[in-house]
């Protein structure tokens, strides 16, 4: 019953449905990249600098004759993979710290919030660049760097939720009826704070994909993984000769991030007003 309510509210937001459709298409593209474009995307497929709609390169080829379309399909894998894993890692750090700060309050809260503030003040992209550069670029260091610079907003959100829920009377009732701290956190507070966290997480996947593409654009991508940001970075110097090399991977990023944002807004519409209504 709750589920059908959720879908109805989600589907009411037309943008969200559109986003879901685009996102599904991108996931399918990523999943079947090796079927649709067999072979290594790094290999030469045709002559260099072929414009779009040429033989063997529907979206054109780059200065080494690599197929742009194949690069985009394989790049989708990297983008989605990094977006999801780094968000999961950021969630683990952020929600844990935020929950601890919000639930315990006092000095623990103070210490954690100072730490969070520090990470929020640091220009996050600069830190990501420094981290990846010093620890040498690889999928692992990129995911770790993105997680390290992305968790503070989640921590603040989780803290705010926990802080307000902790003083709610149903949580106090749980204390007076003798429930354990872990049961109060997991059964009483967490389920009620989940909606905003889910919404933020979905938006964070989008931000993570943007961050990854920015790192790759600067040449800090995993050298073995074809990625959209790398393709644009490589195309930058030859933009006068071959506009397609930067336009198509860029569109791929815009579509993906847009789809994720739309889905995030739909989730927000579907998850949050319900709570508001039940409160009123």
């Amino acid at each position: 019953m709750m589920k059908s309510d959720f879908w109805r509210a989600f589907a009411r937001n037309k943008g969200a449905v559109l986003g879901l459709v685009i996102l599904t298409a991108i996931v399918v593209l990523a999943a079947f990249a090796s079927v649709l474009f067999p072979g290594d995307p790094w290999d030469m497929a045709t002559a260099p600098f072929q414009p779009p709609l040429s033989e063997g390169a529907p979206l054109g080829s780059d200065m080494l004759g690599r197929d742009i379309a194949s690069g985009i399909a394989h790049g989708a894998r990297v983008s989605l993979l990094i977006g999801l894993t780094s968000t999961a890692a950021a969630l683990a750090i952020g929600v844990t710290l935020g929950a601890l700060a919000g639930f315990h309050g006092g000095r623990i809260d103070d210490a954690i919030m100072r730490f969070t503030e520090l990470f929020q003040t640091i220009p996050n992209f600069v830190l990501a660049v420094v981290l990846v550069a010093i620890f040498t670029p690889s999928l692992t260091t990129i995911v770790a760097a993105i997680a390290v610079v992305s968790w503070p907003p989640l921590a603040r959100l989780a803290r705010a939720e926990f802080l307000s829920l902790r003083t709610r009377e149903f949580v106090q009732a749980a204390i007076t009826t003798g429930q354990s701290n872990s049961s109060i956190i997991l059964r009483q507070i967490l389920p009620n704070s989940l909606s905003p966290i889910i919404v933020s997480a979905s938006l964070m996947v989008a931000t993570a994909i943007l961050l990854e593409s920015s790192l790759s654009f600067l040449g800090l991508g995993d050298p073995n993984a074809m990625s959209w940001g790398y393709m644009i970075g490589a195309a930058r110097t030859v933009i006068r000769q071959a506009w397609w090399m930067s336009v198509f991977p860029g569109l791929a990023i815009v579509l993906t991030v847009l789809a994720l944002n739309l889905v995030g807004e739909g989730l927000n519409d579907a998850l949050n007003p319900k709570l508001a209504r039940s409160r009123g």
């Binding site: 503030e117 520090l118 929020q120 003040t121 640091i122 220009p123 996050n124 992209f125 600069v126 830190l127 990501a128 660049v129 420094v130 981290l131 550069a133 010093i134 620890f135 040498t136 989008a206 943007l210 593409s213 920015s214 654009f217 600067l218 040449g219 800090l220 940001g229 644009i232 930058r236 933009i239 006068r240 506009w243 930067s246 336009v247 860029g250 990023i253 815009v254 991030v257 847009l258 944002n261 739309l262």
Partner: protein, 326 residues
């Protein structure tokens, strides 16, 4: 006004604490990096020069216990010694000082533009909620939100510089033109337009969305009902009652996002060959010049702290409650 001085003092103490934390973080980054700290500090180019590496070892006491090394490192930074770039054969601080003005001009202009236009567009969208103007602003904001800024930069320069030839595609000034005075200023301004717009676009979208949402929320509050019951005109209610209250969360977010904006300058300066710190960061990454990179990390952090103090003051000017409650 006493409250304001207090606020400022406490912000300053916080800023110093954050700076120390960042210096300590820098130190541990060097030590946590794979390989010998001296090699890391020397960077790719310097690592081959044994005399330079030995000198670094000596300077930073790299054979001493870790806490002593930390003391030495913090002491050096406190004196303004950010290390030496072997690659460029100059002290890191000199290199940064030379590049700083260009970045400050770029980021400050973009910040002010994004805030002013974002609030203006958000207000327009909120006032015309549900009409085509509101939808248009919402859609543009959504797109700007989803587009990587470096790609926007490339596309804008493809269009305005390469295709139309209206604006210079890169650099800080026309090299060899020898402009002076006003002509020079105009030349720099022309070079500034594309990078500033590119950098500002994302944040403008962000502030527009936030202003719109915030205004719609404030519009439903009790004191707006009071204002209506006084018989005030719609325009007066919007300007005097709604906007001023709605702008507070926008200022807060602007402060929080200042770090992202400064970080974004790396990408923008790379795309437009803007000779600032961001461009320097790109070069340092390519050359594995870690001393320079860590120096940039510190200097950009200081910039963010300054932006934060700026937004705090702005907030204090708008909200009278701050001066006492803080």
């Amino acid at each position: 006004m006493l409250g304001f001085a207090h606020l400022f003092a406490s912000r300053l103490v916080k800023a110093v604490a954050i700076l120390i934390a960042i210096v300590v973080m820098n130190f541990f980054l060097v030590h946590a990096a794979p390989g010998d700290p001296a090699m890391v500090m020397a960077g790719e180019a310097g690592a081959a020069d044994e005399r330079f590496v030995a000198q670094l070892r000596e300077q930073f006491g790299l054979d001493r216990p870790l806490y002593e090394q930390l003391g030495t490192y913090v002491g050096k930074i406190a004196q303004g010694d950010l290390g030496f770039s072997y690659r460029q054969q100059r002290p890191v601080w000199d290199i940064l000082a030379e590049r700083l003005p260009a970045t400050l001009v770029l980021t400050l202009t973009a910040f002010v533009l994004a805030l002013a236009l974002g609030v203006a567009l958000g207000t327009l969208a909120a006032v015309t909620v549900g009409t085509w103007a509101d939808s248009a602003i919402t859609v543009v904001a959504l797109l700007a939100y989803a587009t990587p800024i470096y790609w926007i930069g490339l596309m804008l320069s493809l269009l305005f510089s390469i295709q139309l030839g209206w604006l210079p595609a890169f650099g800080y000034e026309t090299i060899g033109a020898g402009y002076t005075g006003l002509a020079h200023a105009a030349d720099v301004a022309a070079h500034l337009i594309l990078p500033v717009i590119t950098l500002a676009l994302f944040y403008m979208a962000s502030y527009a969305r936030l202003t719109r949402a915030s205004m719609l929320e404030v519009r439903g509050l009790d004191f707006i009902k009071t204002a209506k019951a006084k018989g005030l005109s719609q325009s007066r209610i919007v300007t005097r009652h709604v906007l001023r209250n709605a702008i507070l969360p926008v200022i807060t977010v602007a402060g929080i996002q200042a770090g992202q904006l400064v970080g974004g300058s790396i990408l923008i300066e790379t795309v437009f060959a803007w000779p600032g710190i961001g461009r320097l960061a790109f070069e340092a990454v390519l050359q594995r010049d870690y001393q320079v990179l860590l120096g940039i990390f510190l200097v950009t952090s200081i910039m963010v702290i300054l932006f934060n103090i700026l937004t705090d003051i702005l907030y204090g000017l708008v909200d009278p409650r701050i001066q006492v409650s803080q």
